[in-house]
Amino acid sequence: MGYVAVRGGEAAIAEAIRSLDALRAGATEPGADPGDPLSVDAIRHQLRLLVDRVMGEGGLYDPQLAALAIKQAHGDPLEAAFILRAHRSNLPRLGESAAHSGSQLRLIRRVSSAFKEIPGGQRLGPSTDYLQRLFRLDLLDEDPEAFRAAARSFGSEVVAQAEDFPKVVEGLRVQGLLQEVGAPQPAVDITRAPVAFPIPRPARLAHLTRGETGGVLTMAYTTMRGYGYLHPTVAELRVGYLPVRLPHPLTGEPVEAGEVLVTECEIVATHRASCSATAAASATTRSRPSPWRCATAPCSRGMSAGRAIRPRIPNSSSAMSMASRRWASAATTSCRTT
């Protein structure tokens, strides 16, 4: 189907582009001063969660281009992800990383709702979980000096190296309460490989990772709050920087190519006996060897670190090392109930 009813061809399209651009520039009334254009850097840092979302749904870890897409799309995440996906479509695949473990994370956040105390302790981190959603009217006319001072006051967000903390689910596994998980399956690039049913787990996770955030949340919520007794509990939620290692093109030895910020969420839930008595669900980098046996709520998503790694573009020299904060608050909001 198409807009056969809209006629005028070239002229109509050109006019649509022109009026969109006028609106993007803040056109309100003739002669009014629209102010300054948004800088891509400002979008990247001050709208960081939107950038993360667009990178996640776009399937490409590139904060700079994601910020540009957001600017171009007037802030519509769906349209911005669309632009990023179209760009990603022709990027060469330079390598394929091995499965990464969440135990390599440099943590900025680590919480568990399954246990009151966990070995290594809980670290709330930069989370909106406990924000009171009241207007901060001082931001209506923010003092630029205070704004800069707030940025300067920050030391390091990394609180600890993950090696210091044992995995919470390990304790459960030792007690025999969790089903053992099989070996990691090879990654599937769903944009290169044809869909073949039954879809392997990595492909399923890749679809979820790129899925529209609200859509995935709806799936999680309907799974959780539908019929029956399924109440997943966050055994452990980790947010941190994951060093990405790629095989060296000549030697084949794994070399650290940069790092991405990922969220790893391990969820425990009792499940149908036919499936397994207890299942641990985890969704993180899609190359991660994590247990995701029965489909419980896919609560958290991570960046696709595996195969979408691309050459750095000009002006984004830190594309690989910059942070991406994923969705942690939404994940806990949807899980944290009992």
């Binding site: 009151k116 105390e117 070995p119 009171q132 959603r133 019929y227 109440h231």
Partner: protein, 296 residues
């Protein structure tokens, strides 16, 4: 008045005591009266959107805000702890929006106790009120997906499928496998979901001298157990209801590693390379037993 100038109020202040407007307060109070008048009946209410995310205790919070008066003394606990982040956050919001309202961590001194997951170990006394944060208000939800049908079941007192679920548990596991949210019949009529309190706490609701109010913010339901009301856990004559035993492998009862209590609900704290420790879940009870060593 332009939109911007209408926003020029100081951000921290609330316009009214208890945040909620008069219509919301009236609805909540009417709802609670109805809930008390029909013990165990789930009263639908509008449930306002609060500045704290749903699932974090907004149902309980709305009850507290609609009930609190400046003379009250409020205690907020989450899993028995007064200092858990969620409890701290709820208390912070409630005290900021209820100027004059005092708070306490001591069960004995509180007039309003908002709780998630626990009933205090200390015997409650008249003049106190319990407010529960409820994720799932309907005990039939585990057996019937349609709310319309569930309401009909409640109206007819038709709890057959719940009994079958219990029976199936007994057949498969030789016991009822429900660890929390154990269904109980109130005043011989409605069956309630008592919120995710452990089995341990359920007998405390039976003929309790205080009112127990339940608020499910997300599911938009209120219900109540009035004072001195029968609350009977669902059980078969030959397989009686039992609370947690906290038994070690040699059948001895675990004691709290801090206060030594053997009559409280315990938390298992996993340790690295060592057997788990057991501690009182109710922090105030543990501290009280030790004579409040920190002066808390």
């Amino acid at each position: 008045m332009s939109p911007a100038s209408s926003l020029q109020r100081p951000a921290s202040s609330c316009d009214r005591f208890g945040f909620l407007d008069d219509f919301a307060v009236r609805e909540m109070r009417r709802g609670m009266l109805k809930a008390l008048a029909i013990p165990g009946y789930q009263v639908p209410y509008a449930s306002r959107e609060m500045p704290i995310a749903r699932g974090f205790g907004t149902g309980g919070m709305q009850l507290t805000l609609a009930l609190a008066v400046p003379q009250d003394r409020l205690k907020v606990i989450d899993q028995g702890a007064d200092d858990s982040v969620n409890a701290v956050n709820l208390r912070r919001f409630i005290t900021a929006s209820c100027p004059g309202l005092a708070t306490t961590t001591r069960t004995a001194e509180a007039t309003l106790i908002q709780t998630r997951h626990r009933v205090p170990e200390r015997q409650l006394a008249p003049g106190q009120m319990m407010i529960y944060q409820v994720p799932y208000p309907d005990p039939l939800q585990i057996v019937e997906p349609s709310e319309a049908k569930r309401r009909r079941c409640h109206a007819h007192g038709d709890y057959a499928r719940l009994w079958v679920k219990l029976y199936e548990d007994v057949v498969r596991f030789r016991e009822v496998s429900i660890s929390n949210r154990y269904p109980a019949r109130v005043a011989g009529r409605y069956i309630i979901d008592p919120s995710p309190i452990p089995r341990w706490d359920l007998p405390k609701l039976h003929c309790s001298p205080v009112a127990h109010l339940f608020g499910a913010g997300r599911e938009k339901k209120l219900y109540a157990v009035p004072p001195f009301t029968e609350v009977v856990p669902l059980a078969f004559d030959d397989i009686p209801f039992a609370v947690e035993g906290f038994r070690a492998t040699d059948c001895s009862r675990h004691a709290c590693a801090t206060c030594g209590a053997t009559d409280t609900f315990l938390d298992e704290i996993p340790q690295v390379g060592a057997p788990p420790r057991w501690l009182c879940n109710d922090q105030d009870r543990c501290a009280e037993r030790q004579g409040y060593p920190d002066g808390a």
